[in-house]
């Protein structure tokens, strides 16, 4: 069996963390490094972490790049670039180092904290500050970046191009100084750490964040109206969408609160325009009454919920997958609906697009569960796939004499008239109603409409996209959403060690494709359900749906730290199997 040190990150790609106190420019340096890696043909991922301060607090950029797709951060970092030592202990948990790691730092920054000395990492000192202060307005992050590029084996030309790209908005003067600082750092010490052969410039590469990917997916799905209220970590979806919706002839309305935003998109969708909002836990909580209205009135809407640490205000800037319960079960009454989760940044385009189209086609609500780590990370990837189907809302443009908005049909979907259509007038209602939409408290109408709303989902053929399934063997890891990345990494490491494992990464959580899942589990002797929360929410949900054998095990770890491959590998070790 594997063990953690064999499975260290350096086998596959290269992991770098850049840390610094407020204003030191750690994140900018990280972005430049990532873009440079992209220039060299690598794929990659960059996540960020920040202290509690709004601005000016310490922050860290964590990057991993590789010739292959990068699914998650590794167990350890190859390189730590410490711009200074202020509050470095805040990040110690997030940036595991080992004796195989290298620390790049400035002797002028003072004593290396004991915390970091203890892991036995090699230390390479570069006088960041001396170099930087030799230049007018010179910044030490750029010096450090130059030195880091050598360690990573990235070419100077790529670094330079990337500096230009990332800093172009700041003016030529800034760019020039940065380039000089970069050069000083680059030329100081020529020992590369690891040379991963650069794949060379690749076509078809994208650089995109998860939040942008969700935004793009929404537009591809047809969304042309968004109403929303800002909230971390979802705001960037809205900030990306607002100007772009305008250019596409749509619009974004900043609402007074989430009660307004959900009702606004319901109103807009009633008007015929595919509509969406994005929020996070506290905002989703405020939307559940509105979601019920959309569901009963069969007005399609999509809500992207970018999860953060909960419950309550919780840990707003850190990731967790703990809103599955509210997403699945949070409505009062019997309220079946769609819940989806993107499996990676790359997949967020497809999943969001599909979610919107399914909501439109099935005339129901679609909840997309992204999370902070997926949303706020930047990835270098191959161009993302799209949803090939073109699902649309069934619109009745010339209703006959006896138009019934909630007509019972074969597929339980009733064509909808849009305001402006003569002869198709009806009143959409959150009260239970008969097929015409007239409020009714009769048992027969209630049952009919409950059945309709359930069956249109249950009977729909979702095809093969409900999950990504890979691998063979007798052990299986089930996961969902962004945890798919680390789980796939685990499977890859197992394969490298000659072990087999099946991964089932659920993209469609509700309605659960129970039969398909059971089929995929046939012959599995060990089943582990992996997710990033405290309660094992997916694990219990799968049991609720009768989809798991009693022997299945749960590995649930709450945020804010990411799930690491080593942790999952340990849970799979034979002595942990029963």
């Amino acid at each position: 069996m594997n063990n953690d040190s064999q499975a260290s990150a350096s086998d596959d790609g290269f992991s770098v963390a850049i840390t610094g106190s407020g204003g030191s420019g750690a994140v900018t340096a990280g972005r430049i490094l990532l873009e440079a890696a992209a220039q060299c043909g690598f794929q990659g991922l960059m996540t960020r972490s920040a202290g509690p301060q709004i601005r000016g607090g310490e922050s860290a950029a964590m990057i991993r790049f590789s010739p292959d797709p990068v699914a998650c951060m590794g167990d350890e970092y190859d390189l730590l670039v410490a711009l200074d030592w202020l509050n470095i202990e805040r990040f110690a948990d997030e940036i595991p180092l080992s004796a195989k790691s290298l620390i790049l730092c400035d002797p002028a920054a003072g004593e290396i904290p004991a915390l970091l000395r203890s892991n036995g990492a090699e230390i390479r000192e570069v006088p960041f500050k001396v170099f930087a202060s030799g230049l007018p307005e010179g910044r030490l992050n750029m010096v450090a970046l130059g030195a880091a590029a050598v360690v990573c084996g990235l070419e100077l030309s790529a670094m330079e191009a990337s500096v230009r790209q990332v800093l172009q908005g700041k003016g030529e003067q800034v760019v020039e100084t940065a380039l000089r600082a970069l050069g000083l750092g680059y030329n100081h010490d020529h020992r590369p750490r690891i040379t991963i052969p650069s794949p060379g410039r690749q076509d078809n590469r994208w650089s995109i964040t998860g939040n942008q990917a969700c935004g793009l997916g929404a537009l591809l799905g047809g969304v042309r109206f968004v109403a929303a209220y800002p909230i971390t970590p979802a705001s960037e979806i809205l900030e990306w969408l607002a100007p772009r919706l305008e250019k596409l002839g749509g619009s974004l309305l900043q609402a007074e609160d989430e009660l307004a935003s959900i009702n606004m998109i319901i109103g807009a969708s009633f008007g015929g325009v595919p509509s969406l909002t994005a929020t996070s836990g506290p905002g989703l909580s405020l939307m559940v009454e509105g979601l019920g209205l959309a569901l009963v009135s069969e007005t399609p809407v999509t809500v992207i919920n970018v999860m953060r640490g909960g419950p309550s205000t919780g840990i707003p800037t850190k990731s967790e997958q703990s809103d599955l319960n509210i997403a699945l079960y949070g409505l009062h009454g019997d309220a079946p609906h769609l819940v989806l989760a993107p499996l990676s940044i790359r997949d967020a385009v497809f999943t969001t697009q599909w979610a919107v189209q399914l909501a439109e086609h099935l005339q129901t609500i679609s909840l997309v569960l992204s999370d902070q780590s997926l949303g706020q990370s930047q990835a270098i990837i191959e161009a993302p796939p799209r949803c090939k189907q073109s699902l649309q809302r069934a619109v009745e443009r010339s209703p006959g004499g006896d138009y019934r908005r909630y007509q019972l049909t074969q597929d339980n979907i009733s064509a909808m008239t849009l305001p402006g259509t003569p002869g198709g007038m009806y009143t959409a209602d959150g009260l239970e109603h008969n097929t015409r939409g007239t409020p009714s408290s009769m048992a027969a109408d209630h049952r009919e409409q409950l059945n309709k709303r359930l069956r249109k989902l249950e009977k729909y053929d979702f095809g093969d996209d409900w999950a990504e399934i890979e691998g063979e063997g007798e052990q299986c890891i089930i996961t969902w959403g962004s945890s798919a990345g680390v789980v796939k990494e685990v499977a890859r490491r197992l394969r490298q060690q000659g072990e087999e494992a099946r991964v089932i990464a659920l993209r469609l959580l509700a309605p659960l494709r129970r039969q398909r899942l059971r089929q995929a589990l046939e012959g599995m002797r060990k089943i582990l359900v992996v997710e990033q929360n405290h309660g094992g929410q997916l694990f219990h949900y799968l049991h609720a749906q009768g989809a798991l054998p009693p022997s299945a095990q749960s590995l649930a770890q709450p945020g804010p730290l990411p799930l690491r491959p080593g942790r999952i590998l340990r849970a799979l070790e034979p002595e942990n199997r029963r």
């Binding site: 650089s207 537009l219 307004a260 009702n263 109103g267 807009a268 509509s275 009143t427």
Partner: protein
């Protein structure tokens, strides 16, 4: 307005109201359909949006598109609809509880936002549908509700004052017992470009039988109204006994309406991600 108008009854749906016999809301329904007829509105181009309450049942009784939403959120749903569908005539209807209690925040922000819609609040100073509790407009000493056995003890919410302070450009008050004046007010409100707020005194015969006495109390505003002068409007509203009817304030503020011509294709937007 000289166009031969269709009949009010053409705008009524075939659904029988759940309202108590004698409820003021019948008169509001009648006045609204008359106003629609008078304006010759094309019914499929009208959407009537509401929240929850006796008053909020109104959309289903009108033969146009309707949206009967959830309690307090009518203005939000209507704003989204209007933003997405500027071509529609959007009318929002509700009660004093729906609009001023649970819906107060949306009222504030809808006044500010000034989208082109008409907001009719059938004010009976009570929660009719939940069987008679005090609403924000109930007088502080009204003690018929067991939930507030000595009255609320809280001064009444002044809808016109709030609308003015929040930035509404059209503020009127009507009375269900004066149907032709009410029809006229609604016609003006619908014609007003921007957010038009009409408070209608619409008695609840069941839980506020005392409101039958309104007939004697209601009177037109004596001043020369409507005014475009905000200071004057503020004075009128402050001096007002809450029973005067008419259009108080009417001024055209810029209407907020997103209308963006399509400039690019989606594929153009993807370029930013290419490396």
């Amino acid at each position: 307005m000289a166009v031969p108008a269709p009949k009010a009854k053409n705008y009524k749906s075939d659904i029988k109201p759940v309202w108590c016999p004698g409820c003021g809301h019948f008169a509001v329904l009648a006045a609204l359909t008359k106003a629609m007829a008078h304006l010759g509105l094309i019914k499929e181009n009208v959407a009537v949006v509401s929240g929850i309450g006796c008053s909020s049942r109104l959309p289903a009784y009108i033969d146009s598109y309707g949206f009967h939403g959830i309690h307090g959120r009518a203005l939000a749903a209507a704003s989204g609809l209007k933003a997405a569908r500027p071509d529609l005539t959007v009318i929002v209807a509700g009660g004093d509880g729906d609009g001023f209690s649970i819906g107060g925040n949306h009222f504030l922000h809808a006044c500010r936002r000034n989208m082109d819609m008409t907001y009719i609040v059938m004010d009976n100073e009570v929660y009719g549908m939940t069987k008679g509790q005090a609403s924000p407009t109930t007088r502080p000493t009204w003690s018929d509700s067991k939930m507030t056995p000595h009255g609320t003890g809280i001064p009444r919410f002044n809808p016109a004052a709030i609308a003015l302070a929040a930035g509404a450009g059209f503020i009127a008050r009507g009375y269900a017992g004066e149907p032709s004046e009410l029809t006229r007010l609604l016609v003006e409100a619908i014609q007003h470009p921007g957010f038009a707020f009409v408070q209608v005194l619409s008695g609840c015969v069941t839980f506020r039988p005392d409101q039958r006495g309104w007939k004697e109390l209601v009177h037109p505003f004596i001043d020369d109204l409507p005014t475009e002068d905000r200071t004057k409007a503020a004075q009128i509203i402050q001096a007002d006994d809450g029973k005067a009817t008419g259009v108080i304030y009417a001024v055209r503020f810029p209407v907020w309406q997103p209308e963006n011509p399509k400039e690019v294709e989606l594929s153009d937007l993807e370029e930013e991600f290419h490396r």
